[in-house]
Symmetry: C2
Subunit: 151 residues, 2 copies
């Protein structure tokens, strides 16, 4: 089996979703879930608009992927997200048994994949493959731009 | 201000929701969110029925509470859950800034409030008050009964 590293085009799609969040006044984070080369779930942060603490990009994308595939198990899926997942989203990735996780920018405040803690190295019986830093620069730049405009 | 400890009647309601999950063939976990003495969110595990990895009792109850109160911040709320929250649900509790968390049975496999790790003691900038072991015996018994019947 040829080992295939993740594809940047999917992170570009996640970035487009982050831009959509930006335009809606939300912290700009986007996420796509890919299965067999097909995007089966998409999400972008909607916390403020919906006043819902759970509506991070990853949770929305994972739920959509479960619906598309009619399965809570996403073992054969790759997840691309522009920002390092928080504990809730990293926990959702564990619960859905997502196969591989690619993230762009790191998060030293809320990151649960190495930034603050690493949930994927704890004894939860499942450890997804994780790749950090894909398109880190634009993923980080859109966040800086957002917080700069906010101040 | 008189310090008020949580009330067992709310854990009893969570137990009734766990029983509902049991009857539906789901791992029996139930949760209620309480604000000013009113139940503003309810949830029970629905993972298998809905084939959705995110539909744990706590996530459903938190989302309902956000909707009821039209706010992603649940600082003035108490959450009662029959089983120790997993990383995803403990992360959701952090993200929603839930004020106080009461849980019944501990979980040495997936517990993120002391069972395996304790997310509420990490540097995420927010630490809810946590109380464990309320009605631990019936909360644990319904789980044992479920897994025994499964085998």
């Amino acid at each position: 089996m040829v080992y295939q590293i993740g594809e940047e085009k999917y992170m570009q799609m996640a970035l487009e979703l982050a831009r959509e969040a930006y335009d809606a006044g939300e912290v700009p984070v986007g996420c796509v879930v890919v299965h067999d080369g097909q995007v089966v779930g998409r999400g972008r942060n909607r916390r403020e608009e919906d006043q819902n603490a759970l509506l991070h990009a990853e949770c929305i994308a994972i739920q959509e992927a479960c619906k598309t595939l009619n399965s809570w198990r996403l073992s054969d899926c790759d997840l691309y997200v522009t920002l390092e997942p928080c504990p809730m989203c990293a926990g959702a990735i564990l619960n859905a048994r997502v196969g591989r996780v690619f993230y762009g920018a790191g998060d030293v405040n809320m990151g649960a994949c190495g930034g603050v803690i690493n949930l994927f190295e704890e004894a939860f019986g499942y450890k997804p493959k994780m790749y950090k830093g894909m398109l880190a620069e634009p993923c980080s730049a859109i966040l800086s731009e957002f917080f700069k405009a906010l101040r």
